[in-house]
């Protein structure tokens, strides 16, 4: 990390004595000022709730925590994810802005054509963490005109009990924010479920002790023997390779966010640069079992996106495969196609870094194209 210029520190001190300690974590004056303002507001708010007139001491404590590199979302307890303000807590990954952009874009894509679209959509989010993806998808989907009568059946699954507990709390606060009128929107939100399941556990494994595999968990939920179908499969799995975790991952992420949500457990002896890909073959196997027609998987960068797209191309059941960048709706001057190892050309949409892989097949092709 480059050194901070002493002039910058002096400049910060002239504005507020609490600014210089924030600079190493925030890196620039603007964001340090913003964060100090948010911390101040938080200190005043929590102080008022406890009946304290002065919040200086608690503000100093908050600044000290941030100065140590703790993410501001853990300190403030919330993060904005699209339009939603979701709760955050240590031990569960903080939702990222780029994920929100992908999910919003997906909701828009699914709302472009309503002719031929089933009136009930089953959506599964694997590695749901704080529950941010299903909650935002629900919000964005019903924000589109013409979707009022479409029912969403949404399920999130995670291996972490802590994450599930947080996801359910987030769901509750979203339900509280809804209108009291009973609509497809409110019933879909109330019916959203978060299951304890291990994505990497295949059916062959002994499923006596929790967590069980995803398919078993879904069967238990619906109480049906043939596996229920989920048309849409979304996942933001752990995708950082153990090498990238050591080198390109930010220190505050490494030190404060759960490694379980970032780096996949590597049972095989894949090279450490590629062991971030462990989840994707398993997700695709689940997509086949659950008769999924639309997938959206988040990835680390354009290289991983190409590797995942290659996996999809090899399956040859997918009608269309696309790579989405950080802002899939935006236009950019960057290349709009990449070539895979097999020679196939895959469109790349939007602006920014390669962020997710989107694909569809079967009946969904009729109403997505």
């Amino acid at each position: 990390m480059p050194r901070l210029a002493p002039s910058l520190l002096r400049q910060a001190r002239a504005i507020d004595v609490l600014l210089p300690p924030l600079l190493p974590a925030c890196r620039d004056l603007r964001s340090a000022e913003n964060e100090l303002r948010w911390l101040k507001d938080h200190a005043i708010k929590t102080g008022r709730q406890c009946g304290l007139a002065h919040s200086d001491a608690s503000l100093k404590r908050l600044v000290a925590r941030r100065a140590r590199g703790e993410p501001i979302q853990y300190i403030l307890g919330t993060e904005y994810f699209g339009d939603l303000e979701l709760k955050c807590q240590p031990g569960v990954l903080i939702p990222r802005q780029e994920t929100a952009a992908s999910v919003t874009h997906l909701a828009q894509q699914l709302s472009k054509k309503r002719k031929g679209r089933p009136s009930d959509l089953h959506i599964l989010d694997l590695c749901s963490g704080s529950g941010c993806i299903p909650l935002l998808f629900h919000h964005e989907f019903y924000a589109q005109p013409g979707n009022e009568h479409c029912k969403l059946h949404m399920v999130g699954a995670d291996i972490s009990v802590q994450a599930l507990e947080l996801a359910r709390r987030n769901q509750k606060s979203q339900i509280a924010a809804q209108s009291k009128r009973v609509t497809a929107q409110t019933t879909s939100l109330a019916a959203m479920r978060f299951l304890h399941a291990d994505v990497l556990l295949s059916e062959a494994a002994n499923a006596i002790h929790a967590p069980i595999g995803v398919v078993e968990a879904l069967q238990q939920l619906t109480n049906t023997r043939p596996t229920p179908a989920y048309e849409v499969l979304i996942s933001n799995p752990p995708y950082i390779s153990s090498q990238a975790f050591r080198t390109t991952t930010a220190r505050s992420v490494r030190n404060f966010e759960p490694k379980l949500a970032l780096v996949p457990d590597n049972p095989s002896s894949a090279p450490s640069a590629l062991d971030g890909d462990v989840f994707y073959p398993r997700l695709l196997a689940l997509a086949d079992q659950l008769r999924t027609e639309i997938i959206l998987f988040e990835v680390a960068d354009i290289d991983q996106a190409q590797r995942v797209a290659t996996l999809l191309a090899r399956q040859s059941t997918w009608r269309t495969v696309e790579i989405w960048r950080d802002e899939p709706g935006a236009t950019s001057d960057e290349a709009d196609h990449v070539l895979l190892d097999g020679g196939e050309s895959v469109p790349v949409r939007g602006a920014g870094n390669g962020r997710s892989v989107f694909a569809y097949r079967g009946a969904a092709a009729a109403w997505l194209q």
Binding site: Y80, R96, P238, T249, V253, A300, D301, R355
Partner: protein
């Protein structure tokens, strides 16, 4: 009767009903409605989200929610990073830009100028009233020590004025012997 009067008052208080005849003889002052807010044309806007370069996603935790908005025909650029919510910042940026364009187009006739002008006039007339009041008080204070009755009046008025201590002090100081 009283209820009818109250209902009437409420109807007058509504800004939309301008043609309601007041029940009382002292006419209520109807404020002219402000000119409407300028509507921005989304196609004329270029929006960008400011954030650092480098990897994104799980690898780093960006807190930047700043939004920059450019109005292409005029080239005006505004930025908002007030809140942690990008959506809220987008709305704020649009609000600021609309105000700027409105001011550019109409100058003193723009919505914000009219608003600030009205606030200024209101404040000026309020301070004028207090000034007049204390001037009168000071005059009465000076001329009569004999009449107990009016002194009592002054006393009660002074008590009223204590709710705004600063105005009271600054206005009354010079007249003290």
């Amino acid at each position: 009767m009283l209820r009818r009067f109250l209902i009437h008052q409420r109807a007058i208080a509504k800004p939309g009903l301008r043609h309601v005849r007041p029940f009382t003889t002292c006419g209520t002052l109807q404020e002219k409605p402000l000119p409407p807010r300028l509507k921005l044309v989304e196609t004329e806007l270029e929006e960008s989200f400011l954030k650092g370069s480098g990897p994104g996603g799980q690898k780093i935790n960006k807190t930047s929610s700043a939004v920059q908005l450019k109005h292409v025909p005029t080239g005006i650029v505004v930025k908002s990073q007030e809140t942690r919510s990008r959506q809220q910042n987008r709305k704020l940026a649009r609000l600021i830009l609309a105000e700027k364009l409105d001011h550019m187009e109409k100058g003193n006739e723009s919505r914000t100028s009219i608003k600030t002008e009205r606030a200024r006039v209101k404040k000026a007339s309020a301070s004028k009233k207090t000034r007049r009041k204390y001037k009168k008080l000071a005059e009465e204070d000076g001329k009569d020590d004999a009449s107990q009755e009016s002194a009592d009046e002054v006393e009660s008025e002074l008590n009223d004025a204590r709710s705004s201590p600063t105005a009271f002090e600054t206005q009354n100081e010079p007249s003290k012997p």
